[in-house]
């Protein structure tokens, strides 16, 4: 059963072939959606058929407005926005510069706001049940401590709060807003960051006994984007194999 037949979707941060964004875009196409992928750069071969690339830095509000309008015109509307674009760094507080902290917020949090704000006029006109899906992180819930530092945890915490506020403001417009909170996921972002011994030690503490895959997260994003979740808004779904049951 195809879950997004005829839907028009934007996925940010889908330019890396191993990322959650690209896994989501591929799954959306499989489920019948048209997809425009936004990213700062596209790695060669990242985009299979059926996805339209658009080069945008989500921290640039004007560029987001242009991109969203262009994408909505290209697809003939907009039903789904996935705010996945993000960066990560583990810099500790004493070494963090204000500029690095600000950049983390600009991309992960303000980028989510920029794309959401630019998307609202189009989402309001959706006849399929408009949905926004934001990508938070386990770092927001446990205070970083894995690959993300305090700035990453704060930015992702902001994304989760912003998701709830979006749900509150936009529910009556027929727009749902939910988030996923991935645990440790094997992507380009995490590749090579854990050696075999550390991987084994961490996996012993994850109830499902393994790191997640980009597809594990993409499938939950698909659920939140689709009419299967039509009575969910303001929710944050953990996709962490039980690593953080709170």
């Amino acid at each position: 059963m195809k879950l997004l037949e005829g839907h028009k979707a934007i996925v940010t941060g889908g330019g890396h072939p191993l990322g959650i964004g690209q896994a989501t875009a591929r799954l959306f196409v499989e489920h019948g959606a048209q997809v425009v992928v936004l990213d700062r750069e596209f790695m060669p071969g990242a985009l299979p058929d059926g996805q339209h690339p658009m080069t945008v830095d989500v921290s640039d509000a004007d560029a987001c407005r242009v991109a969203l309008a262009t994408a909505a015109e290209l697809m003939g509307g907009l039903d789904v926005v996935v705010n996945n674009a993000g960066i990560v760094a583990a810099t500790r507080i004493p070494q963090l510069s204000p500029a690095e902290f600000a950049r983390m917020l600009e991309v992960n949090l303000i980028g989510t706001f920029n794309v959401t704000q630019a998307a609202l006029p189009f989402l309001q006109r959706s006849d399929k049940g408009a949905a926004i899906v934001n990508v938070g992180s386990i770092a927001a819930q446990r205070g970083g401590g894995l690959l993300g530092g305090s700035h990453y945890a704060a930015a992702k915490g902001g994304v989760i709060s912003f998701t709830k506020a979006t749900a509150r403001e936009c529910g009556s417009l027929g727009i749902r807003a939910n988030a996923v909170a991935p645990g440790i996921i094997e992507t380009g972002m995490t590749a090579g960051k854990y050696d075999a011994e550390r991987t084994r030690a961490i996996c012993e503490t994850i109830p499902l006994g393994r790191f997640g895959t980009a597809l594990d997260v993409a499938r939950v994003i698909l659920f939140l984007a689709s009419p299967m979740s039509s009575y969910l808004t303001g929710a944050v779904i953990d996709v962490n194999g039980g690593y953080h049951i709170h």
């Binding site: 059963m1 109830p207 006994g209 939950v220 299967m228 979740s229 009575y231 969910l232 996709v239 039980g242």
Partner: protein, 253 residues
Amino acid sequence: MTRLARRVALVTGAGGPMGRAIALKLACEGAHLVLTDISGNRLAGAAEAVAEAAPACRVVAHRANAMDRGEAGAVVARGIEELGAIDILVNVVGGIKSASLYTPFLELGEAQWDSTFALNLKPGFHLVQLVAPGMLERRRGRIVNVASVVFAGEPGQTDYAAAKAAVASLTRSLAMEFAPHINVNCIAPGMIQTSVVERLTDEDRSRFLDKCLLKRPGMPEEIADVVAFLSGDESSFITGEILAVSGGNHPSL
């Protein structure tokens, strides 16, 4: 429509609006079903609806009071005998049995306290103990419990809210005990269009809707969709989660 092909799901409380919608959804996704309810009539109605909507679905409908170990055991035994094994357990049975939906705590009788806990916890206690050993042996299984958004606390529903909080807590403990083989999750419905909603006064109804961001009660089908999600491969990396299906009326908002 084959997301759950060849899997067998046991649904309790299958005769009520929510259980029936869940049974229909899982059947339409390709699962075979073991259905039970305390009312033989309602159970037969659900089984007929499934047969009509999903003719390929094999259905075992066995009336039982799932609060009773012997009766719950008979449901599981018959399900396994006729359908081989149980892959998915959906604990729907529960609710508020008292005449009034709201009883101030100081007027709450001990009998109601006990019966609310029994109704909302005993069936799950029995069925998980009966079904999980097979799942652990096969190293695969899904358990979906049904709590309620009131688990976070609700004046006038102290017994029901506490019992549902216990369901949520049980979900987390079981997710840890049964990992990595069984994913155990819980949904927390908000106001859903069932017989309970019809019993609400206009005042209580609008109080609930005020807190609901989507400004409407949910439909049983919208609960069923989420149960299908938690029963299928899309949620393979989710365990120990309590998922509000409430149109945005939930404790963390």
